[in-house]
């Protein structure tokens, strides 16, 4: 299935693009999307513990299941204001 991935701030810089499509096997979870991104990007490993995930605009745990067409956003610590 195809998942849309968004990344912001430091994560966007490490990823190199603000968004990308990922092909994941049916039954994949948010953590699998993260692992797919982290492959070959060692810098992402250091970000994992401070990163939150949102699926279709709502914060979800990393073990949340994904469905075809979901939009998964990876959010580093926020700093607006």
């Amino acid at each position: 299935m195809t998942i849309r991935v968004l990344a912001f701030a430091r994560l966007r810089e490490i990823l190199g693009v603000p968004e990308a499509d990922l092909e994941l096997p049916t039954g994949a979870r948010v953590a699998d999307a993260w692992a797919a991104l982290a492959r070959g990007r060692a810098a992402l490993e250091f970000e994992r513990s401070s990163t939150r995930a949102a699926c279709n605009g709502s914060i979800v745990p990393f073990d949340a299941p994904l469905r075809e067409g979901d939009e998964v956003a990876f959010l580093p610590p926020v700093g607006g204001g």
Partner: protein
Amino acid sequence: MFAIVRDPIDLRELECIVRPGDGGVATFLGVVRETAGDGRPVTGLFYEAFEAMAVHEFETIAGEARERFGDVKLAIVHRVGELRVGEISVAIVAAAAHRAAAFDACRYAIDELKSRAAIWKQERYADGNAAWIGA
């Protein structure tokens, strides 16, 4: 009015939320400072947002403020992109019949925005370096 904007914030648009029964209007403006938290000179800030989520969070925060402080109307607008020193990054307007609710809601909104909203800030220093600032 809840928005992420790219152009300079127009406070007059936010003030349109004031209703005929409102006697107190509390406003907060966040302004880009010339120094970072650690004292280093800053040439500007770069903000980015997950716009749909940030705007939804603004609405949620406004709803929470109404639950806590009563009938108060809020406008929350955050700017993104490159900002220079002295420019306004965020504007919050809270209007209520009396000043206590307006102040409380305004302060609640900026506190919650800073800790929760999907917005990121990069400090850009005079020496050419830059750093993302996390809450």
